[in-house]
Symmetry: C2
Subunit: 283 residues, 2 copies
Amino acid sequence: MFDQQKHVFNLWATEDQTPNMRLSLQATQTLHTEQTPYQHLAIVDTLPFGRVLFLDGIIQTTTKDEFVYHEMITHPALNTHGSPKRALVIGGGDGGTIRELIKYPTIEKVTLVEIDARVVENAKEYLPEISCELDNPKVEVRYEDGVKHVQEHKNTYDIICVDSPDPIGPAEGLFAKEFYQNLYEALTEDGIFVAQTESPWFTESLIRRVHKDISSIFPITKVMLAFIPSYPGGMWTFTMGSKKHNPLEVAADKFPGYKTRYYTPEVHKAAFQLPPFVQEMLK
Amino acid sequence: MFDQQKHVFNLWATEDQTPNMRLSLQATQTLHTEQTPYQHLAIVDTLPFGRVLFLDGIIQTTTKDEFVYHEMITHPALNTHGSPKRALVIGGGDGGTIRELIKYPTIEKVTLVEIDARVVENAKEYLPEISCELDNPKVEVRYEDGVKHVQEHKNTYDIICVDSPDPIGPAEGLFAKEFYQNLYEALTEDGIFVAQTESPWFTESLIRRVHKDISSIFPITKVMLAFIPSYPGGMWTFTMGSKKHNPLEVAADKFPGYKTRYYTPEVHKAAFQLPPFVQEMLK
């Protein structure tokens, strides 16, 4: 079916991954586009990555590889903590991070703070495999500014996942040092946060600065790597700030058994083994 | 300087990474193009990846990320063996694999079997950081067919690196079961070979078949992963066939100290920890 369409309709969705690198995906149809109050949103069916959510022209998530991002922004932190009850997701309106947090047996309540309600509404309509737990009774969805939310909630969350777009536009404040200080204060005494922190190949200075800022606030700061093929270069970093628990000291028998496609106790350990060229960025 | 050029000359080098995915790199100049007896060859200076070697329009190596590929196709096998003396590289005319093999203290002789002399000659002219050890007295360069070479050399090599392009055109025979059987016979009694075996995201059936074929010949067959941003999806597999030594059982103190930018003893172990979606391909 796709092959036929390929011959009759030569449609390509192109992302400017950097100012001098472009990724083009052959598409079969655009399901929806709109200008929300915050950004341009598009949902496109593509041949290489399945259904894709674009925000301001940048790929946010795809049905082919979303499991990597969503498992890695949640399970390493959850398992490092061991018994988290309350979790906060900032951004992440597609719901994939929520879906993974809900799998963890001790989680009682998850709050999603997304500034743009249209992301959530479109995810529910077009990305059901990703948004499927947004109506779970353990989940509270709030349409508000994540920066403000953490300022107003002290000592509240065991886990915070900063599931943001790139540090331009509405997400800029989610990469600021003041924000990390507020995260520290919003976390409980043994709380952990994890943020997506871009590419070692193309945003080295951001990784360097973010790591420096987080290290100056959290006693334990660790960077991990994951393979995300729809992101520039396919190599992505997540940075974890932890008040007490060390992600490199999680006992293997502490991992609860739930189904994952990327994350395992072995992948947990492997993700923190940084090649020297990445270690250099963190000095 | 690049920025100025960017405004006056909007040149893009585009690779069809799959039939429905394209990567475009902004380029500053094409240094050289030619049709060799075997393939089309181009050397292009790009902004995102530095200098790039294309063969038949496919990125083979770039000065930005070549260290990952060349370290991972050599050091895991070298360290798994522990005392290799003779090594063979099939393909790899750019010389990067040779450069890494030469670092290993016990290596006495390395044979490069490249079918296309023009790859070697252009690498020497345009990619000096990669080709720098091709004139090392330990290195013998032969312009011949790799398939035939291994047929004619039994019980000769401790390490064989199959540093081939994609399994189309001149390299097709380097992914055949008969070839893996000939590799087995060309290896010494505790020999190891490693081959680049493409992407888990876009060539699943190839990885599956190659793993099955190698497993049917070698007692120890292992797949490892590496981040290579200039290759489709940025996640690449290497498959190792070993007669005796297990790459997961290398003592940490056995790793010789030489300078690398990607590979370390910890990265060695981490590279073999496969996410479940990759494990599934190998069943």
